[in-house]
């Protein structure tokens, strides 16, 4: 029998720092909710709005797989590995922090707001050599399809990370129905609605709602509105 947890949009943690308006699906920074610590190895799902030209100065990380998906605007990234890049909507960035890396992240545009999802997963191996990658995604390929954008395998579609996790993005027409099969036994799926309204396993979800489902090998999906856009995060439920 599958189990689920529903996180409605308005129950997320919220911090408005002026230049940064952040919503946290799980405990982060000063938002602490013991009931919202993680979903399996998915530890952070931040939905950040960053004012033009503003951002996070250089700061370190370690032992975390950090995935950034810009939803609107562009982010300027620099890190201690020598990478300097701009990542925009339609692209994905991944950083394995491993033994330690410093980076800065700024809104690349002075006159446009940046909206991004920043997602952190516990790694399946500690103290790996830090690495960085970014990819441009074929946005058309996600029309009425869950397009894989991340996996554990370097030779598979999307970016890869040090974890048995698969991410998929889809944009759907109203009424479109499908089933998503979980990639690995023991994994669960955390669905995050970027836009529109969908029904997953009978649960109606609106924009920015999250639904975690586990103890199952698949989930049912239906788009209720024309602009439905969903991110699926298929992740191990056991911490390594």
């Amino acid at each position: 029998m599958s189990q689920f947890i529903l996180h409605k949009e308005n129950t997320r943690g919220h911090a408005n720092h002026g230049w940064l308006n952040a919503h946290h699906s799980f405990s982060f920074a000063n938002y602490y909710n013991p009931e919202r610590m993680h979903f399996g190895v998915l530890r952070v799902l931040n939905d950040d709005l960053i004012d033009g030209g503003m951002g996070f100065g250089s700061h370190p990380h370690d032992n975390m797989e950090i995935i950034t998906i810009p939803l609107a605007g562009a982010i300027a990234h620099k890190d201690s590995m020598g990478n300097s890049a701009v990542i925009k909507n339609g692209e994905i960035q991944v950083m394995s922090a491993g033994t330690g890396v410093s980076h800065s992240e700024f809104n690349a545009n002075a006159d446009e707001q940046l909206n991004l999802l920043q997602i952190w997963l516990f790694p399946n191996k500690k103290n790996v050599t830090p690495r960085y990658d970014q990819q441009t995604l074929d946005v058309e390929a996600r029309h009425n399809n869950f397009q894989q954008i991340l996996s554990p395998n370097a030779d598979d579609a999307g970016v890869w990370i040090h974890q048995d996790a698969w991410f998929s993005l889809g944009k759907f027409d109203a009424g479109f129905e499908t089933e998503y099969k979980i990639k690995k036994a023991g994994n669960g799926v955390y669905a995050f609605v970027i836009n529109g309204e969908v029904t997953i396993n009978g649960q109606v979800l609106s924009k920015r709602d999250g639904l975690g489902v586990w103890d199952t090998d698949s989930i049912s999906f239906k788009a209720n509105t024309a602009d439905a856009e969903v991110l699926l995060m298929d992740v191990p439920m056991e911490l390594n």
Binding site: D62, N63, G98, T99, G100, K126, N127
Partner: protein
């Protein structure tokens, strides 16, 4: 009452950040070191409530550290710190302090 937290990590930049973050809250006192010998000395000399294991500590070192530190203070809580002085720190500490080990 202050909670004394010992952080052990190999990266000096992260250790500096951790020192700043742990000592920014009046309810916490943070001591941050990079070597296992320093950690063991601190644990002998001071009443430590919680140990955070940071980056670069391999499995063998972690095993030895856990053994030696709990020999000194059997009640000691030892957890892995992820993220390197990041947004996870507060939640990790609050969770550890609320749990029986």
């Amino acid at each position: 009452m202050q909670t004394t937290i010992l952080y052990i990590g190999r990266d000096t930049e992260i250790t500096t950040v951790m020192n700043r973050l742990l000592n920014a809250r009046p309810e916490w006192k943070g001591i941050c070191v990079c070597t296992d010998d320093e950690a063991i000395s601190v644990c002998k000399e001071q009443q430590i409530d919680l140990v955070l294991l940071g980056n670069g500590i391999d499995a063998e070192c972690e095993k030895v550290l856990r053994t030696k530190l709990t020999e000194i203070r059997p009640e000691l809580k030892i957890i892995q710190h992820y993220g390197g002085g990041s947004g996870l720190l507060y939640g990790e500490i609050m969770t550890a302090l609320s749990q029986d080990f």
